[in-house]
Amino acid sequence: MAHLMKLELKKFGMARTVIFTVAAILFSILFITVSLWDSMTDPEQTKDTFESTYLVIGLLLSLIFLVYSSVLTARLVIGEYEQRTMTILFSYPLNRMKLIASKLAIIMVYTALSMAAGYVCCSAYIVFADRFFDVLEGTFQISMLQTWIPMAITMVVVCMVLSLWPFIIGMIRKSVPAAIVTSLLVIVFRQVIISKNETNRESLLQILLVSVVTFAAALFIFKKKVPELY
């Protein structure tokens, strides 16, 4: 499996993906800066709090990286069917399920790592920005991490699981647009679900439920759609 993942990275090259991650994090920081600047300078607005800014960071990162995970699904999986290179891969002495699983593992790990990196960078940015420019209401307390860290872990795990949905829907008709649109729908659906929770994040039960449904759907696609080349 590790060898297959290595070959996938070799085939598609990770430089572009790493550059995108850095650019996405910088964009998020820029977005937060503009938002904070706006609330500071507009007399009709009140200063943002650490809590609300942290929620914005989560929303922004999930939006960017879930959409990008669908782009990766299109490149690594659906693109191989469209370009017919999957025919070549399937004629190799390889377990086809492992082959596709290695591609999905790359997408899931990438989503998790880039979101984690995004959280670290953006959170550090608001802490330092507040320390030097007092851009937020209140001051940063170490105790805030007790809320932030579980929130970030929940978000990373959920997004990692949700990054499978572009694969699930996109594979039905081996369609790239379907994969991309699915990622957007998943984000909207998730926001609707968590907006009903007081903590603004999924409960453990919800995470388990989403995971079970996602993995069951992925398994179904593995059995029915992955072997289907023509």
Binding site: K11, T85, F90, S91, Y92, P93, R96
Partner: protein
């Protein structure tokens, strides 16, 4: 059942067999009860017109599509989703030559080595030389012509020294020189390395030059499976006449007592009596005012045999 099949395969020394292969798409049967037997060390020509079901059979052989019924045995082992290890000993070209277009030829071949678990990367230089692409190996595939891609696909198929080569229309898009070079390459691989080759083509004359066993398929049904020697026995010798007035010439032949002939059109006649002297024939025709354009002894081609067989099966 499996043990019986293995014993049978070993006895007959078949590298690949199919038994009762059947495949339908939307109620349309494209492959129907196909039993193929590929002897070890053979060059098996799989011929038939476009749409006859050749590619579908080959895809089933490689487990790229599932048959509705029937079985495929490769190296005596039944091909299933779990038997992918046997493909270590095969090389293939199916349909068009597909590659990672943004990678170079060498990078594509390196990837092939990795996926096949073939450690000898020095072989890449050898195969690039064999297909005459050594000077363009650093070019991205998207800049290759279709003919170059076809050559590279052949290089990839033979790279890991397969015991069994499955080649679906491998000479497509090649120029006449390329066709001759690749034919020589396949013959060399078969002769020197003992590679068994299963080659499909709708160009029967090309297959005739390379294959020692022929399988003919039409409308998804295998018409026959014979060695080339057996086919030669069925191919009749004849005298081909080209005259300016075939009807007149035919009447003269009948007067001469020759009845075993056929008039193909206004100019061509075939006489299936090889004992007749060409010299006497030309003398008779010329003396009776028939303009003789050409006269020669010929033998039925594989194509003739194929059409003859099709007629018989109608």
């Amino acid at each position: 059942m499996k043990a019986v099949r293995e014993e049978y395969s070993l006895k007959m020394d078949y590298i690949m067999e199919t038994a009762g292969l059947r495949k339908s798409y939307k109620g349309n049967t494209v492959v129907n009860e196909v039993d193929i037997h590929i002897p070890k060390g053979a060059v098996y020509g799989f011929v038939g017109p476009n749409g006859a079901g050749k590619s579908t059979v080959m895809k089933m052989m490689l487990n790229l599509i599932q048959p509705d019924a029937g079985e495929v045995y490769l190296f005596g082992e039944k091909v299933t989703d779990h038997s992918y290890e046997i493909f270590k000993k095969t090389g293939s070209i199916i349909e068009n030559p597909y590659f990672y277009e943004k990678l170079t030829a060498r990078q594509n071949l390196e990837l092939h080595c990795e996926y096949m678990g073939f450690p000898n990367k020095e072989r890449i230089d050898e195969v690039l030389q064999m297909v005459d692409l050594q000077n363009v190996e650093g070019k991205q595939i998207r800049h290759y012509s279709l003919g170059m891609k076809q050559r590279l696909a052949i290089a990839r198929a033979i790279l890991a020294r397969p015991e069994f080569l499955i080649l679906d229309e491998p000479i497509n898009a090649l120029d006449p020189e390329g066709i001759r070079e690749m034919r020589n390459l396949f013959q060399r691989l078969n002769r020197e390395d003992g590679t068994t080759i299963f080659i499909s083509s709708h160009i029967l004359s090309e297959v005739e030059l390379i294959a020692d066993t022929i399988g003919m398929i039409q409308h998804g049904k295998l018409l026959t499976e014979l060695s080339i020697e057996e086919i030669h026995k069925h191919q009749t010798e004849y005298i081909s006449l080209q005259v300016d007035h075939a009807a007149h010439a035919a009447a003269l032949l009948e007067q001469m007592g020759i009845t075993n002939f056929s008039v193909l059109d206004k100019e061509f006649i075939r006489i299936y009596d090889s004992d007749i002297s060409g010299k006497d024939l030309s003398k008779l025709l010329i003396e009776n005012g028939v303009g003789l354009e050409s006269l020669g002894r010929k033998q039925d081609t594989l194509e003739d045999y194929f059409f003859q067989l099709m007629e018989e099966r109608k």
